[in-house]
Amino acid sequence: MENLLVAENIYKRFGNFTALNNVSINIPRESIFGLLGPNGAGKTTLLRIINQITMPDEGRVYLDGKPLHPDDIAHIGYLPEERGLYKSMKVGEQALYLARLKGLSKTEAKERLKYWFRKLEIEGWWDKKIQELSKGMAQKVQFVITVLHRPKLLIFDEPFSGFDPVNANLIKDEILQLKEEGATILFSTHRMESVEELCDYIALIHKSNKLLDGKVSEIKKEYKSNTFEVGLDAVDEATLKQELKSRFQIGPARFKSIQDDLKLTIKLGEHESSNELIRFLLTRARINHFVEVIPSVNDIFIKTVTQNA
């Protein structure tokens, strides 16, 4: 699959501080790409470089295979982490202004704004000033402004921070729909639940370095440890446990079930398959629960970051 955006060997220093150290990312077309990392890792700096707000010291960025050009801002929609609007300007007026700065004509901008305002049920705000709105309301307006010019690439810096759960869900749905419609989405976050739900690809940045990137499913495959979670109904639990212990690596497991089972995690050897485990268990107990343990992005995140600490 062709990449929409490629950033190659990006370096950025501020005085003595290195914000990005040889970071490269590839964002496939029509995917959702999550940029993960603890606070201060360099995510925002990378997003600003892609938006041409700051220039990299070294390295290049390609959009659609061509080096990034100032005119490309028309193809990018950016929702910064630190977002705000003019306090004393009316909502409609400033949405119109910002949309026109992105290259839309006045009539077109107005039409699309009307559509989005209807969609997010904020039609009544057109003539209100931002200072009359709550923070969550203002964020909705900002979201609309970001997506209004239908850019190929949408960049959200911490899109869910500050939203209440209802609005966060609303925005999540909109992001998924934008992807359906053909947009490519890059977002940064340090909240892993949203990554799990949304991202096809991720890159992990820690202390200015990229530690990990790739397709989420592949990364998970790489990080899984051939471990299974089982719930067993056995006559003699102690003997079974003993038997399992001698053959596999076992540990306690915690999951919800209605049975009062023996709950275990069982780690198999590198070349053993789940079938062997099932065969082993079949003769000794009734299997109520059998699931492969797949590491969550959160686990991978913590594991990688602590390894490199």
Binding site: I53, I73, L98
Partner: protein
């Protein structure tokens, strides 16, 4: 270009829709006109008020020399005793009493003034002059000199000033030139301070609102900076135009309605004029008409734009460097200093000697040149000096805009750092 126009448009509307701006725009002419009318009214009151001064002249020589004027009336109390005269003046609440003691010829006169209040300089001077004139005359006569011959021999001298091209000018025209130059320089300084501050506040506003990152993801910071400066200056020009029109209309309609002559407020000027002989006034009118208005206006526009841009760029950079207006104090001094210096050099050095070394140097230095050169131009400045000054100003403008844009683009995304000059210098290198 399209974006620049959009930014200018927004900045302009944001300025002129501001409530403070609207109030300032419409209140200022009212206040200004009100002040002028008040001054005119007060000076009219002052001039209609007549002082009554008693004279107790023991010598009998001087009482007749004091002539009643528009503002003073003299009453002769010489027939009464000094004590009686004093009591009478006090009872009638007259302004005061002059007591002239009897003097032998050749001696200096001994004169006393009794009054409720200390009399003004004008009054005292008038008394001294009257008596000294009379005494001098008497002494001349006593020495056998024919006073009428001296009067005949008195010659009036007035220097006729011409330049080498043969153009005449009057002494008065120097005042006129000073007035034009001074007004232009002062106007420029006010404009820079008021609207430079506006630019700065608007930068800070965008920074604290955190909208700045949304905007710079659509336009280049330099475009935003330029649009802000241009939009704000257009708002300023609008305000000035309204002030001038509204002020003039108000001044003349109200004054004709109330019957107060606003020109009467300019007392010193009209006094001077009355002292000048008729041909001199004609010359003055010619001088005023002969001032090179086209080039004056042209240079005013050039220096106005040059100076305003220079300072606005600095103001914008400061706005970008700080988080709030309270942090701007440490940077204000270097801005205000050259402006004040320019005004001082203008009002002291240029007036004294328009083409002296100090005036010339300060009219070349770009931070003061807009003000000082504007004040010098009415006196006639060699074209090459103007050209040098303008070229340096323009070059500096580009340099400062470039530096400001660098500070600006780093500063607008920098939060929570207390800026120091060292920090700003580092930003230049990012």
């Amino acid at each position: 270009m399209r974006n620049l126009r959009l930014i200018i448009n927004r900045e302009y509307l944001a300025r002129i829709r501001n409530k403070t701006f609207i109030i300032m725009t419409f209140m200022s002419p009212l206040i200004f006109v009100g002040m002028i009318l008040l001054i005119a009214y007060l000076s009219m009151l002052n001039s209609t008020e007549q002082k009554i001064i008693g004279i107790h002249d023991e010598s009998g020589m001087f009482a007749s020399e004091f002539k009643d004027g528009e503002q003073v009336q003299y009453l002769d109390y010489s027939g009464k005793s000094l004590q009686e005269a004093r009591e009478e003046v006090l009872d009638n609440e007259y302004f005061g009493l002059i007591h002239i003691a009897n003097v032998a010829p050749g001696e200096n006169a001994k004169i006393e003034f009794f009054g409720k209040d200390t009399p003004g300089f004008g009054t005292i001077e008038n008394i001294e002059k009257t008596i000294s004139d009379k005494l001098t005359r008497e002494q001349l006569i006593a020495r056998g000199i024919d006073v009428s011959e001296i009067d005949k021999a008195r010659a009036d001298v007035s220097v006729d000033i011409q330049n080498f091209a043969g153009e005449r000018s009057s002494k008065m025209s120097n005042y006129i030139k000073m007035f034009f130059g001074g007004a232009a320089g002062y106007l420029l300084m006010m404009f820079i301070i008021i609207y430079g501050n506006m630019v700065m506040r608007s930068v800070i506003e965008e920074k604290t609102n955190r909208i700045i990152e949304i905007i710079v993801s659509s336009v280049k910071p330099f475009q935003l900076l330029l649009g802000k400066v241009l939009g704000t200056s257009l708002a300023g020009i609008t305000q000035f135009t309204i002030w001038v029109i509204l002020g003039t209309v108000l001044l003349f309609s109200i004054s004709s309605f109330l019957g107060i002559d606003p020109l009467a407020a300019q007392m010193p000027a009209s006094n001077v004029v009355s002292e000048v002989a008729k041909p001199e006034i004609n010359q003055l009118v010619i001088d005023i008409l002969n001032l090179p208005y086209a080039s004056l206006l042209g240079f005013f526009v050039i220096y106005f734009i040059g100076g305003y841009f220079l300072y606005s760029a600095i103001y914008a950079a400061i706005g970008a460097a700080v988080d709030s207006e309270t942090d701007t104090q440490q940077f204000m001094f270097p801005i205000i200093l050259p402006l004040i210096l320019g005004i001082y050099v203008g009002f002291f050095s240029v007036v004294e000697n328009p083409h002296g070394t100090v005036s010339t140097i300060f009219s070349i230095i770009p931070l003061t040149s807009p003000i000082v050169m504007l004040m010098r131009i009415p006196f006639g400045v060699p074209w090459w000096e103007i050209a040098t000054s303008i070229i340096i100003l323009i070059a500096t403008n580009f340099g400062v805009l470039w530096l400001s844009a660098k500070i600006y683009r780093v500063g607008i995304l920098m939060y929570g750092k207390k800026p120091t000059y060292k920090e700003l210098y580092k930003w230049l290198k990012y």
